[in-house]
Subunit: 632 residues, 2 copies
């Protein structure tokens, strides 16, 4: 990217510290089976066995290797955020082990090397070989960018070369069962400039959904399976039709957004308008029809999947943390292709709500599933609500979401800023509002802000030795935005959601943006059955929620007054700290003990209190609701 | 029972005609594979093969025989309602075939006779042998009572004797996987007076849930299965603990209420207070914590089961028609043990709402699952809502619910009236309000009523040659009930929900009961998350619902005014006929096309129209809701 950004604010700097000091070391211990009482990972052990340095059997999921890859990626970003010699060495040792586990032809997957060497590349649908390779390619790119070392990059170039030798026109058809290699090969291409990696990614994407269906044919030709010999659900795998013909986001949500991210990369690099159109269509379908207000996507546990437009149940939601991380990947790639504030708005929505809610404030517990409504005794317990835990579980040994959150938070700079060269002109895009110091050749800008607690963001230009213009995303939720340049209010020139500053930046420039942080009631499209007639509260990028602890326990008996104004209070909570809470007037119902009765429940005035959704479930098991019904 | 009651009213007489003329002949053809385009039943063919009159393989479910049994039972009641020589002969022929299919020792189950003779009685948990036997015993009792013929009764006595020779103290332990034999043996006992049948039923009930668990042990001892070798879910089978220790209704709802019905029979006959207490506890749990307003029970499709107290989702409801039929069986047996209007109230609720809704008004289509809310395009289509069809499917070849509805409607008299002799005094109980002619030795009473359209019921005593008192259930929903005897208003003497008339009946007596048919808003217990803050409409025994066709299509945008009065109108509908519809004032919301917006939906006044729930889905595919949110 050619720039660096050091996060220095009261919000994300704390998260990065948590990930650096707690999450990453903890997960390393998990991977190395060093923790008592935590389910065995065996992930590093698998590499040792593959390297023939240990006797033993492969243990774990078919995609166990990817846990190691995601950790390396997160740890590499961590080094970039703050160098740590011990971590650097740990990485070196682990990478050396991976090198020794790689087969002479470049093949790298401990499941198959150790357990089923005769079955390589025979079950792309289930076996996650390309998925694991993809994650390790991402790790390699991150490690190279963070350290300048080519150790892992060399391993993964060799692996990618091997993959290129197996797949392609006139070679093996096929594509990943779980997309990931596509976007990873594009990262490898970005880092190495090797066209063949881009071509390989493009092949996988263009081959997907072609007839006869590869996975259907593959199933006929193999006599083994990882999980199931049932007929292939092609929509689950997003290979029900060619990707350029897909109208709606379907199937497993994480797979979907990983695939669309790869598609966006290829569309951008190859200037493929048809593919770009498909990306936009799928983006629009997700964000205009299938996304929770929290930025959660994939509303059903059954297949962890998209369902139908406007089917967004709150209490049986799936809304996997990883799917929102993937939505952010997709958003970033769409932004790289096309500067439109909508991508940034969605990126921000997913980040500040669903993704951050995925982790407890102390970084020790994680949600995989992010419901918008829970009721203790029912959520997590009913056979239909088993997946919707009302309380974050302690970390699982083998895990997708925690390392995904870790790698996102540690590489956040890449989502905040983008420097675009076009026709000799450089534009610096500020996609997200995070305090810190931006630096690239000849440019240094300091951002100061208490965002998202406050809406003022100050950009202080410390160096501007090259010609560069600034463009800042103006979120759609900011109905009244004010900008002052060097103390003088300037009219906003907003195009597609970005305010483009007219002049070039000069050292000493001070740009002050004031976003409209008025808390507001949000209303859902009435096609969303579960939210029709209800309201949710939002302030800036933060969606709020009502928790039992602040509202007398039971939320089902509460209603919001239709005409109520929102009052903002600063709540000083022993766990949450000083938090901007929102209050609205409402009613509390008190009803009969009968199952059914002719007696209308009594209504008494009640003040409802909401806290930011990302903070929920940090104060013990209790009820939670984002959407609350309005009464007259 | 010693009495007869000929249904003669504008409501149930029509249903009985439909069942007699359409449903019973149609199902006979299904059982005999005489219909093109209907899934093969093979049920009669299985008996022919078992009788060695045909070559062939068993085909169908392990409980396929029970389809034949339920048909015989319904057809027998039909003969009792109206004699039909052809049907009588058809029954004779079918019963003769069954006799020839029976093995010499009395064993009767074509699945095992034809397919797995070596596996008899080895898999009580799954194999439905006792279930099929039970249904055929019920058929035998019904056939004997309807015709006086002992043909099927003799077959089933021989079968019951065989069962008694296999199971019991010092013999084989065990009990039915799907309860049914318990209540059926009690019917056989009632008809024959054979104590051993009662003892056998009591054994099955007392053995259930004893340790070591029979099904768990059985699984260890067999190397075959019908469906699954998974560990036994004892709660699903209601054998997680002895029945007298069970506190809550759990597991498969139909199995549960069939079991509880058998328990009530045994408790009554053996005057077993502990068992009676268990029955009451389970009854109270179901009807006070786990029952839909429609009388539907078993709220989840997963296991067709009870879940937790107050978990009564409307749009993912299971509420199987058969479970409500079983609840009526249970209610009737509780009433036989203890005269309390609550049992009658629940019986009436289930009958007029969930059960009748199970069948289309033309008798041609049936619901197995009875949701309280549907939305076309979602219900029946979403992976989480596949079971909640918004439109009744055409009849399945092999089916539980249609014949269960048929046998209930054709034997309705047994639920309407009960004659109790106690200490030389006879009391005649009127549990339900149905027009027709009651006759027993020395007594003839004519009931005239337009119930449930109207609340007036006239009892005209035509003969009263023996001393008999009358007791009439006064439904809890009738807040203002008036009774006049021979033109003179009499104060009601209500005890436990029954009005006991002081004097003995005399020929010429004319008792006029006026129930309070004021339509009312009903409110659910606020612990029911899905209904809190909502209202439903009820008039007499009828729960109402809002259908899209009467309310502009989309119901999610409608709200009821909290203070609105209910207006009653007579709607003349081309399909429903003249129907008492209910109207309330409310609001219609009109919102933004955005997925989420700060714009509050506009509200415009709207009059909501409701029709009886049992009539829903007779006017084409459309949305439906029983519960509607109130606005101030």
């Amino acid at each position: 990217m050619g720039f660096s950004f050091r996060v220095e604010d009261g919000f994300f700097a704390g998260y990065q510290k948590l990930v650096r000091e707690d999450v990453i070391p903890y997960q390393k211990k998990v991977l190395g089976d060093e923790l008592e009482g935590v389910e065995k990972s065996h992930a590093i052990e698998n590499f040792k066995i593959a390297a023939k340095e240990r006797e033993g059997e492969f243990y774990g999921m078919v995609f166990q290797d990817s846990d190691v890859a995601k950790w390396i990626e997160a740890a590499s970003y961590s080094l970039q955020v703050q160098y740590d010699e011990k971590l650097d060495q740990e990485l070196d040792e682990l990478i050396a082990l991976i090198g020794r586990a790689q087969e002479p032809d470049g093949y790298l997957d401990t499941y198959f090397t150790v357990k089923e060497p005769e079955h390589k590349w025979q079950n792309l649908c289930e076996a996650h070989e390309l998925y694991c390779a993809g994650h390790m390619m991402e790790a390699a790119a991150a490690h190279f960018q963070a350290t300048g070392k080519t150790t892992l990059l060399d391993i993964m170039k060799k692996n990618a070369d091997h993959i290129c030798s197996i797949f392609g026109e006139g070679k093996k058809r096929g594509y990943p069962g779980h997309p990931e290699a596509e976007l990873a090969l594009m990262r490898l291409f970005a880092v190495t400039g090797e066209e063949k990696y881009k071509d390989m990614a493009a092949f996988f994407i263009r081959e997907r959904g072609a007839e006869p269906n590869y996975f259907v044919e593959e199933l006929k030709n193999r006599d083994w399976c990882v999980w199931s010999r049932n007929p292939i659900n092609t929509a689950y795998h997003q290979c029900h039709k060619p990707v350029t013909e897909q109208e709606e986001a379907v199937g497993h949500a994480v797979r979907a957004v990983y695939l669309y991210s790869g598609m966006a990369d290829v569309a951008r690099q190859e200037k493929d308008e048809k593919l770009k159109t498909a990306c936009k269509r799928l983006w629009n379908n997700i964000t205009q029809k299938q996304m929770y207000i929290t930025g959660g996507i994939g509303s059903t546990v059954l297949g962890e999947a998209f369902t139908k437009d406007y089917d967004l149940p709150n209490d049986t939601a799936y809304a996997e943390t990883c799917a929102s991380v993937g939505l952010i990947f997709f958003a970033k790639r769409m932004l790289m292709m096309e500067k439109n504030g909508n991508y940034g708005d969605v990126m921000e929505r997913a980040l500040y709500n669903c993704v951050l809610a995925g982790m407890s404030l102390d970084g020790k517990k994680f949600f995989y599933v992010n419901p918008l409504q829970v009721k203790p005794g029912y959520s997590g317990e009913l056979v239909t609500h088993k997946h919707d835990l009302p309380d974050r579980p302690a970390w699982f040994g083998c895990a997708c979401c925690p390392p995904n959150v870790a790698r996102l938070l540690m590489s956040l700079s890449d989502y905040i800023w983008e420097e675009v060269e076009d026709g000799g002109e450089t534009t610096l895009y500020a996609h997200l509002f995070v305090g810190g110091v931006y630096q690239s050749e000849g440019i240094k800008i300091k951002t100061e802000t208490a965002y998202p607690a406050e809406g003022e963001i100050r950009y202080l230009v410390e160096e501007a030795e090259k010609k560069v213009k600034l463009a800042i995303r103006i979120p759609a939720w900011s109905l009244q935005t004010v900008m002052a340049i060097n103390g003088k209010e300037e009219p906003l020139q907003v195009r597609d959601g970005y305010a483009y500053l007219s002049g070039e930046l000069k050292a000493g420039d001070r740009i002050v943006l004031k976003l409209d942080m008025t808390p507001r009631k949000v209303y859902a499209n009435l096609n969303i059955s579960e939210d029709a007639g209800k309201t949710a509260l939002q302030k800036g990028p933060l969606v709020y929620c009502f928790e039992g602890v602040d509202n007398g326990g039971d939320l089902d008996v509460l209603r919001a007054d239709r005409e109520s104004e929102i009052t903002e209070i600063v709540k000083d909570d022993s766990v949450l700290g000083k938090v901007n809470a929102l209050q609205i007037s409402g009613k509390k119902l008190e009803g009969s003990a009968e199952l059914y009765s002719f007696d209308r429940p009594k209504e008494t005035p009640f003040t409802l209190t909401a806290v930011p959704y990302y903070m929920w479930d940090n104060r013990g098991l209790n009820a939670m609701k984002v959407w609350i019904e309005e009464r007259g």
